[in-house]
């Protein structure tokens, strides 16, 4: 699934034009990025949370050559899925919908 397919679903469910729906989906993603770029976490009930984590420098290894290489300290995004999302993925059905499969 790509952004275009999500845009189509949004347009269907809201009655917005595809142009406006795309603008909206783009805004959602853009604002999430801006939030994380400031180091602020995003907490979405059911879906999960995104958090920025500091990783310290370590010695990694190139798996092809076996050579050690320094991996510098950096910040990364960590996503932790919510209970609802985890359950949906593990069972293949949406929780609380009477059990019809997706």
């Amino acid at each position: 699934m790509t952004k275009i397919e999500i845009v189509n679903v949004v347009a269907d469910r809201t009655g917005l034009t595809k142009v406006k729906a795309e603008e909206a989906v783009e805004a959602v993603l853009q604002l999430m990025k801006e939030c994380l770029a400031q180091g602020e976490p995003i907490i979405l009930r059911r879906f999960g949370s995104f958090q920025v984590r500091q990783k310290s420098a370590r010695i990694g290894r190139n798996p092809k050559t076996g050579q050690g290489a320094e991996i510098p300290a950096r910040k990364v995004v960590r996503f932790k899925a919510g209970k609802y999302f985890k359950e949906a993925v593990n069972t293949g059905r949406l929780p609380g919908t009477g059990g019809e499969s997706v």
Binding site: K3, I6, A37, F47, V52, V77, F85, A88
Partner: protein
């Protein structure tokens, strides 16, 4: 940032009502959930991708009692940040 705050900011930026925007925001995350639940993956250019990862079954341990417990194989959602997002975070 909570979902309510995200809705508020999106509504402001694209000039839609909060009610409308809430449906949009819900639909985005619901679509991702539905896609992964059906085994599909979702790729959002510049943001990242959501995929299903398989975890094999394993023997776990109850840290309190030390008893061995069997943890069955499961499928879990996994997010990998896209290049643009990674660069925005780490600068």
């Amino acid at each position: 940032m909570t979902k309510a705050e995200l809705v508020e900011k999106v509504a402001e930026r694209i000039d839609l009502t909060k009610k409308h925007t809430e449906v949009i925001v819900n639909t985005v995350f619901q679509s991702i959930t539905e896609a992964l639940a059906s085994g599909d993956k979702v790729e959002l250019r510049g943001f990242g991708s959501f995929r299903v990862r398989h975890r094999d079954s394993r023997e776990g341990r109850n840290p309190k009692t030390g008893a061995t417990v069997f943890i069955p194989a499961k499928k879990v959602p996994f997010f990998k940040a896209g290049k643009e997002l990674r660069e925005m975070i780490d600068s």
